[in-house]
């Protein structure tokens, strides 16, 4: 069945080989940390309260999305 001279590598050694290659070949991506942020008005710096208009600031009327000029 198997050639006596062709003994397979010990499991520990082939496992170490696989783990080493997996660590060396895996691309390291930056991990995003948990965070909290708020969109703020570019005009007055006010935060966006719940249920308010998404296109203009409720406090100063600053337009978040300006129409492109024709």
């Amino acid at each position: 069945m198997e050639n006596e001279n062709d003994q397979p590598k010990p499991i520990a050694s082939s496992l170490a080989n696989i783990l080493g290659k997996a660590m060396a070949s895996s691309v390291k991506f930056d991990q995003q940390r948990p965070a909290v942020e708020t969109r703020k008005c570019g005009g007055c710096g006010a935060a966006r309260p719940e249920g308010t208009d998404l296109s203009a600031c409720d406090f100063c009327g600053f337009e978040f999305f300006k129409k492109a000029s024709p």
Partner: protein, 280 residues
């Protein structure tokens, strides 16, 4: 049968035992080491996935070696024995009928030993895969829980902001004090619950039901080749549906939001079974 046949049987048995032992050793050690890799790599799931790919490939090589060795070597050795015996019987002018009956019974029983081991190892591989990934998934889940139970503050007024413990995507969270809409980002580790841990943890719960379906499907496919059978397609679908129900409910237990897509997922999985597994 002669001594050569006995020797061949012993060598084949010894080969199968070696394959089984090596397979179990590889997977047992991997099941212990791989979840630790997750700690060591600061919960980066990529090296874990890459390492599993390598281990799975080695395990599959071992499984395919059984079939390959039977076809390339053992079956041929049996044919040589058969030819030698037949020549002796022809020379002695003895009928070959009794010999053939005995020989083929032995030949197919030896071949089936290999097939049975292959099937057992395929089942073992899936069990190891699910349990190894689920063990790593639990580690990730514990870490995510630790992160999400931390203190988060409204970015406008700095009041404490409550965050959901079982939701792993970013979402709007309104501050109870100043009503500001905050965007909460749970971070990579918590996000990976959905991509890495959810499936194996749910599969682990559903595994007993899965194996019942797997066995029934195997019997169903065998009978189709052999002629009229006793297992109906609906029985396979029912067994699969039982498995899918356990799996989907286990997912909902981890991420309750999945309840909204339960019916759609269930119907999709059953349609996939009808279209791809039962028709092939």
């Amino acid at each position: 049968m002669n001594q050569e046949a006995t020797n061949l049987q012993q060598r084949w048995d010894s080969f199968l035992t070696k394959i089984d032992d090596r397979f179990q050793e590889l997977l047992t050690q991997s099941a212990t080491i791989l979840p630790q890799l997750l700690d060591y790599q600061d919960f980066d799931t990529l090296p874990f996935n890459n390492a599993w790919t390598g281990i799975e490939s080695q395990a599959k090589d071992l499984i395919s070696k059984i079939d390959q060795t039977w076809a390339d070597k053992v079956s041929k050795d049996w044919e040589t024995i058969q030819e030698t015996e037949e020549a002796l019987l022809v020379k002695a002018e003895v009928s070959l009928e009794d010999f053939h009956q005995h020989f083929y019974a032995l030949y197919y029983s030896e071949r089936d030993k290999g097939y049975l081991l292959m099937r057992k190892l395929e089942k073992d591989l899936r069990n190891y895969e699910i349990s190894t990934f689920a063990a790593a998934g639990r580690k990730l889940q514990a870490k995510a829980q630790e992160i999400l139970s931390g203190n988060f503050s409204c970015s406008q007024c700095m009041a404490q902001l409550p965050v959901q413990q079982s939701f792993y995507r970013s979402y709007y969270q309104v501050c109870l004090y100043c009503q500001t809409t905050n965007t909460f980002e749970p971070g990579t580790i918590a996000r990976n619950i959905e991509h890495f841990a959810l499936h194996p943890l749910a599969e682990e719960k559903a595994l007993p039901a899965y194996w019942q379906y797997w066995e029934l499907l195997h019997q169903y496919k065998l009978q189709r080749e052999d002629g009229p059978g006793t297992i109906a397609e609906e029985q396979v679908i029912n067994a699969f549906t039982t498995y899918v129900d356990v799996y989907l409910h286990a997912r909902i237990a981890i991420i309750p939001d999945y309840k909204n897509r339960y019916e759609e997922d269930r119907a999709g999985k059953i349609a996939h079974l009808r279209r791809n597994t039962l028709c092939s």
